[in-house]
């Protein structure tokens, strides 16, 4: 079984020697392993990349897809940018908030689901777009919210 350290070395081979280009892929791998970028996750990443934990934290904190606090086992991300907003995205946000009993930006008590409003996901012609565990669902309406929430258990 390969270790995290070995996996990161393999990623580094794709890029010129001495570059730090493996930083984003390595952080993604660490997040997949730990669920979020905890202090330990950042330290392991730093060791594998031969950089400081501070460098890893500086990079990770720039990008929206890295979690610097514990996140739910599932993520539901609702696009609320203009095209989706014009087609009723706020009603979809509220339907998810009701179904999960939390506000957008929060994680359920049991640590299962993180609900977020996000910026444009690039599916504007198929509003409202919702990314469920990073897989896009198109044409989501308040009526389809229950089905999505109930389907989470299958993943």
């Amino acid at each position: 079984m390969s270790t995290f350290y070995d996996d990161v070395q393999k990623i580094r081979e794709r890029y010129p020697e001495g570059s730090r280009s493996a930083t984003l892929p390595a952080l993604r791998l660490a997040q997949e392993k730990h669920g979020w970028l905890s202090r330990q996750a950042l330290e392991e990443t730093a060791e594998a990349l031969d950089v400081t934990p501070a460098f890893c934290y500086a990079v990770a904190s720039f990008y929206d897809m890295f979690h610097l606090e514990p996140a739910g086992r599932h993520t539901i991300e609702i696009c609320t940018n203009l095209p989706c907003a014009l087609c009723g995205a706020q009603k979809v946000v509220e339907a998810f908030e009701d179904a999960l009993g939390i506000k957008a930006g929060e994680t359920t008590e049991d640590g299962e689901v993180t609900l977020k409003a996000v910026e444009c996901l690039g599916g504007c012609g198929y509003a409202t777009v919702v990314a469920v565990d990073h897989r896009y669902r198109h044409h989501v309406t308040p009526e389809t919210v229950t089905e999505i929430v109930e389907g989470l258990g299958d993943a």
Binding site: L24, A54, M65, G125
Partner: protein, 440 residues
């Protein structure tokens, strides 16, 4: 003009994510052979003759960009494909990668040959997971089939940052850093990725390159309109009957796209505004839509072709709320490097909030303009300007509506606007490092 599938040709009848099917329609055939038989100079000359203008937003001719590469440099030359599609309203690159990944890869091989590059990076936005999987599988299949001829293509995933669609921020991000734009000069063709000569093009630009080689540059240059040859995939969204992607010749009238292809305004409403190039460009009023969709025609009426992405807005929308939601996006995505953008976008949000909630005065409308003027031209990249252009257009073209907010002490829509209460990511606190111990 009917839809004309050129970039998307064959996608109705075939599964072009599969190498065999792409080859069956001529993929990796004559176009690639013809390109590889040419010298670098000849191929760049051919691309210049085609006058293909960049589809990412700026519209800079792709062949001219290739001619600027410092091919005499002793350093490696890099080709970078910008697949960080994040402009609100744009979803064309995503369809190209999901349905014709091999046309993009073939374009990479041809463009790499032109600039004598052996190293290609495709920087795809992190959220496009399914598209990444399709593209990576296609890259692996083409490599295993021996089509790369010494070239390597690495698909590199972003991690959620609009700014990384800006070419120098993309390079920083690809180098593993925070995605903050670089001062220019030096420009990427001289010092780009790893300080080496670098060509950067949008997905649709590169995917058009095999078409040029297949048709011949002279024939290609006769399509579309003389100043902007070829087709573009137009993304249309918002309040229309049939939103989606439509590949059309450049120069197609905007009215035709909205009322024929997209079926007109949905729910029997009236057209109020069109934001023609993605959310960053000045909006048009209903009397301005008899315009050909090409770079120069849109430029002539004070807006931009941008990412060929039209957001259609109907009469239910409050323009102050539209401005506010748009500006919250640019505030959220400002990388923080330049003060006018970092601070100015926040001021704009505060002023717009005061207009919307009825606490602003007429002087605040002028202040909003003034803050915008102090961002324009005072920042390293276009993001700050992208925050200002649309808002300035809403303020000037729909000024009565802004004034009505001030005079009535609140929103004249009284809660009925289509954007009423819309939550922006910057309104929630999902990304604060609470519970995280500070690292030394």
């Amino acid at each position: 003009m009917p839809e004309q599938n050129v970039l998307l040709a064959g996608t109705d009848e075939h599964d072009l994510t599969k190498l065999a099917e792409y080859r069956a329609i001529g993929g990796y055939g004559e176009a690639l052979e013809r390109a590889r038989a040419m010298s670098s100079d000849e191929l760049i000359d051919e691309l210049q003759k085609a006058n293909l203008r960049g589809r990412g937003g700026a519209g800079f001719p792709m062949g001219r960009k290739a001619s600027l590469i410092d091919r005499k440099s002793a350093k490696p030359k890099y080709l970078v494909v910008n697949a960080d599609e994040s402009e609100p309203g744009a979803f064309k690159d995503r369809q190209v990668m999901a349905t014709v990944p091999h046309r993009l890869i073939e374009g990479c091989l041809i463009a790499a040959h032109a600039i004598e590059s052996k190293d290609v990076f495709i920087y795809i936005r992190g959220e496009y997971l399914t598209e990444y999987e399709i593209l990576q599988a296609a890259v692996d299949e083409a490599r295993d089939a021996g089509l790369f001829d010494g070239v390597e293509i690495v698909v590199h995933r972003g991690a959620g940052a609009y700014i990384c669609g800006e070419e120098t921020a993309l390079l920083e991000s690809l180098e593993g850093k925070r995605g903050q734009p670089r001062p220019r000069p030096p420009f990427p063709p001289i010092q780009g990725l790893y300080m080496a000569p670098t060509q950067i093009n949008n997905v649709c630009t590169i995917a058009t390159v095999p078409v040029i080689l297949e048709m011949g540059a002279e024939e290609f240059a006769k399509t579309g309109v003389p100043s902007s040859p070829g087709t573009a995939i137009f993304s249309i969204s918002g309040n229309v009957v049939r939103p989606g992607n439509y590949e059309l010749p450049l120069g197609t009238p905007m009215r035709e796209l909205i009322y024929e292809h997209a079926g007109g305004i949905a729910d029997g409403r009236e057209l109020k505004a069109v934001i023609p190039g993605g959310s960053s460009v000045p909006a048009l009023t209903p009397d301005q839509i008899d315009v050909p969709l090409d770079y120069d025609s849109l430029g002539a009426i004070g807006t931009f072709f941008g990412a060929a992405s039209l957001i259609v807005v109907d009469d239910r929308c409050c323009m102050v709320q539209l401005a506010l939601r748009s500006t919250k996006f640019y505030m959220h995505e400002s990388c923080g490097k330049c003060t006018p953008c970092r601070v100015g976008t926040r001021w704009m949000v505060q002023i717009l909030e005061s207009i919307e909630n009825g606490t602003a005065t007429r002087a605040d409308l002028d202040l909003l303009d003034n803050v915008g003027d102090n961002i324009l031209g005072k920042v390293l990249c276009a993001l700050g300007e992208f925050a200002v252009y649309p808002v300035a257009s809403y303020l000037h073209k729909w000024r009565d509506e802004f004034v009505a907010h001030v005079e009535q002490g609140g929103c004249p829509f009284h809660g009925s606007s289509s954007l009423e209460g819309i939550l922006a990511p910057s309104d929630q606190h999902a990304h604060t490092p609470a519970g995280q111990e500070a690292l030394v």
